[in-house]
């Protein structure tokens, strides 16, 4: 039943193209994104699933990553990624969300644009420059502050990553907060609420799920971050002792791929293991991004507020 209706719709869809052939071209360009995502999934999976056939679940829960000895257990790498990203989010979430609220609700209109422009510039600084600054300035600072011999540790990676994810969190939650209908705020203010009471009891509850989505997008961005993290994390594929020791080096997932792919011979076990890691990363970020998208779109109040 559903199929019949769908094919009827499809027919209508393609009839349309006959009237204006250009529309077919436009449609193809729009459809291109779907094609690319499918190709991406297919080709990463083609190489990556090989690794799961070879190593089984060991690729995810194995404790030792030593390609030279044929050991491909990525658990320490996954742990490293999650550790660094959690550290970064602990800093970046309050930083980003409070900044978003401040810019949208408190900052006077006249300087809002200039502040936003500067933050946009901050967002466009490339990963490699953050890595460079991390190695040159932040790592030595961390080393001398905590009295350790090398500054390239999980904490440094978290700090750099926090700075890099703030613009993402800030941008998305800022958009959501500014989309809260003005009438709601005015109603609260008219009832005698102070500005802060209005923000806390009206703006934040309405924007709550949007803020959550921005955090998820920040997570997706942070866990996929490669070059900067590689440069400042220390690249030691071992779970720190104790596991929450942020002053020991780690080796996040993305860093391993970037570092070892160059040496891996095409078709070798290492090559497919690295693609396996890539596949994990792809699927993880895909799920997080899709969820974030659904959350934002499910927000009826804000959707109506935009109109």
């Amino acid at each position: 039943m559903l199929r019949v209706r769908n094919s009827k719709k499809m027919l209508h869809f393609f009839k349309h193209f006959k009237k204006e052939p250009i529309e077919a071209l436009l449609f193809l360009c729009a459809f291109f994104s779907i094609i690319v995502l499918f190709l991406m999934l297919f080709f990463t999976a083609k190489e990556g699933l090989q690794a799961f056939f070879t190593f089984g679940i060991d690729l995810i829960i194995g404790q030792t990553w030593k390609p030279s000895e044929g050991l491909f257990g990525a658990f320490p790498l996954i742990y490293g990624s999650i550790m660094v990203v959690s550290g970064a989010l602990v800093i970046a979430i309050p930083w980003g969300v409070i900044t978003a609220i401040f810019i949208a609700e408190v900052l006077p209109f006249s300087i809002r644009d200039i502040i936003k422009s500067i933050i946009e510039l901050l967002a466009s600084i490339p990963s490699i420059i953050y890595g460079f600054i991390g190695v040159l300035y932040i790592a030595p600072q961390v080393a001398s502050l905590f009295g350790i011999s090398f500054g390239t540790v999980a904490l440094t990676a978290s700090l750099v990553l926090a700075i890099m994810s703030v613009p993402t969190i800030l941008g998305v939650s800022g958009e959501i907060i500014s989309a809260v209908p003005k009438e709601y705020k005015e109603a609260a203010l008219a009832l005698g609420a102070t500005k802060w009471q209005t923000i806390r009891n009206v703006v934040i509850p309405i924007a709550k799920s949007g803020i959550l989505a921005s955090i998820m997008l920040g997570f997706g961005r942070a866990i996929g971050e490669t070059v900067a993290v590689l440069m400042v994390s220390g690249t030691v594929a071992r779970i720190p002792t104790p596991p929450w020791n942020f002053l020991s080096p780690v080796y996040p997932l993305t860093a391993v791929i970037a570092m070892q792919m160059g040496e891996a011979a095409v078709g070798s076990r290492e090559y497919s293991a690295l693609f396996g890691l890539g596949l994990i990363l792809f699927i993880l970020t895909f799920i997080v991004n899709t969820l974030a998208d659904i959350i934002v779109k499910r927000e009826p109040k804000i959707r109506s507020g935009k109109k």
Binding site: E20, F27, I34, T44, V106, S127, G131, G224, N289
Partner: protein, 277 residues
Amino acid sequence: MTSRIKEKVFFTILGIPMVACLLVFFWIVFVLSSGIGTLSWNILTTSVLKGGIFEMIIGTIYLLLGAAGIAGPIGILAAVYLVEYAPSGKLTRTIDQAINNLAGVPSIVIGLFGLTFFCKQLGLGISLGAGWLTLTLMILPIVIRGTEEAIKLVPTSFKEAALALGTTKWKAISSMTIPSAAPGIITSVVLGMARVAGETAAILFTSCVLVTRGLPTTPLDPVMALAYNLFVKIVALGEPPEKVFGIALVLFFIVIFFATAAIVLRIYYRRRQPWLR
């Protein structure tokens, strides 16, 4: 009165994280500008083979222009479809979702895909062309979203005026809507270029080499790029960061140039086009 003062104090505290953002930015600018002494006109224009960085700069520009040249047309047409033609339905929603997802794919995964698909499957090898296609995937979502915004800002009356004269829908859109949205469209392409100018992970396995003879003459030649060289020199060769300060600085200038250009363009055209006020 006291509660108002209290609130003022509170809001000032609430502003600290924003000030921190600004401080971080200015600190980065300050830190990088301290290395300006390592740059000279000589280094910029001398070949890599003789210790300069000339080919890296041109290589980076080649990568950017090519990628924007591919992603630009596709992205613009896709956005026109989504705003002007797409019926509201499942397929359109899926396309929309796919664009968001594409924007969120980690650059290293895009790099891996480029390696297996463009380099191996399509047989492009480590080449400028493979780099273009890989970077295209990163620029595309930015161009589509920016163009969509720009088109939505154009008053529909422009298009309707053309339609009323008896033109086809496409003629109305291509002669009225797109030209009126052009500044916004250009801004989004420039913004896309800014976002990938320093991209390293995506071109790591697909298009770059540390040293090659001269500039690429065909899209099938490998290319030298600032970001790649910076990465390999620090990470793989273990050179002290101070020694490659010049490369980092030039890369930073290029990125900031494109990012600032996008911002200035946007502000300038918003002022000039009365319907955007």
